[in-house]
């Protein structure tokens, strides 16, 4: 029988893949992909909790839809900035962005 903890484990694994990607990637677009994995993991968490713990209301699903909307806005803004940096300085790698020291 597949229970809540199975879904939570899959989500935790996906979240950690996202964290790994965020920490280790050079390319800003790959970092954005890592963030998307983290957000997807959170959504799986929310929907699973909604299904198993509190099915009488759809709060978890509603939260997930909000997160998807914010993620779409995030990617469009992020790509716009990445493109303009690419045009100005011809770079996409985060560790080459060193005018400001970290």
């Amino acid at each position: 029988m597949i229970g809540l903890s199975h879904y939570l484990l899959v989500a935790a694994a996906l979240f950690c893949i996202g964290v790994y990607s965020v920490i280790t990637k050079k390319n800003a677009i790959a970092v954005l992909m890592g963030i998307e994995f983290m957000l997807n993991a959170i959504n799986i968490n929310l929907v699973a909790f909604n299904h198993f713990m509190a099915p009488s209301q759809v709060i978890g699903q509603v939260f997930a839809i909000f997160i998807i909307g914010v993620a779409a806005a995030e990617v469009s803004l992020g790509l716009a900035i990445i493109l303009s940096l690419y045009r100005q300085r011809h770079l996409v790698a985060i560790d080459e962005m060193d005018i400001l020291k970290w």
Partner: protein, 161 residues
């Protein structure tokens, strides 16, 4: 049910790992698209059919495509080596594995109460009511947020004359 769960989870995690490991950013983007489909499959198993549709429409249809465009517009050097890791590879691996270990330990340790036997409400109707009644402020704010994203993409992306 059980077979489908393991199938979707395996596809999801395999594709996500592939996205991270691949050194070709185009391959990563395509693998990521596949993993988003698997997430939609998991939503279907959890009886969140509307959310599964939103997932495919927004994540696969918009976000992944946008990322592929981003990859192609910012090509620099060989595409074969466009997705290299930086020097924090070991730190990242240790952090991710450690975090997963701790989270997994906490999840298996926690006893969740057995699911209450309530019939779930009509999905789309309940979601629409939540959006337009309970969460109206957040809903309106999300609308403004998307407006700002459009405005911002135009303001930032416009070629300076």
């Amino acid at each position: 049910m059980i077979i489908l769960f393991y199938l979707f989870s395996a596809i999801l995690l395999a594709f996500a790992l592939g996205t991270v490991i691949s050194t070709n950013l185009i391959h990563s983007a395509l693998l990521m698209m596949g993993s988003f489909f698997a997430v939609a499959g998991l939503y279907l198993l959890l009886q969140a059919d509307y959310l599964a549709m939103v997932q495919i429409l927004v994540y696969v249809g918009a976000i992944a495509i946008l990322l592929v465009f981003g990859v192609m517009l910012t090509r620099k050097g060989s595409i074969e080596e466009s997705n290299l890791p930086n020097r924090y590879k070991t730190i990242g691996l240790v952090t991710a594995l450690g975090l997963f270990g701790l989270l997994a330990r906490s999840i298996t340790y926690t006893r969740f109460p057995s699911p209450p036997l309530e019939s779930p409400p009509q999905n789309i109707i309940a979601i629409a009511q939540a959006f337009l009644l309970q969460y109206i402020v957040a809903f309106e704010a999300l609308g403004i947020l998307l407006l700002i994203a459009i405005l911002g993409a135009i303001l930032i992306g416009k070629e300076p004359k």
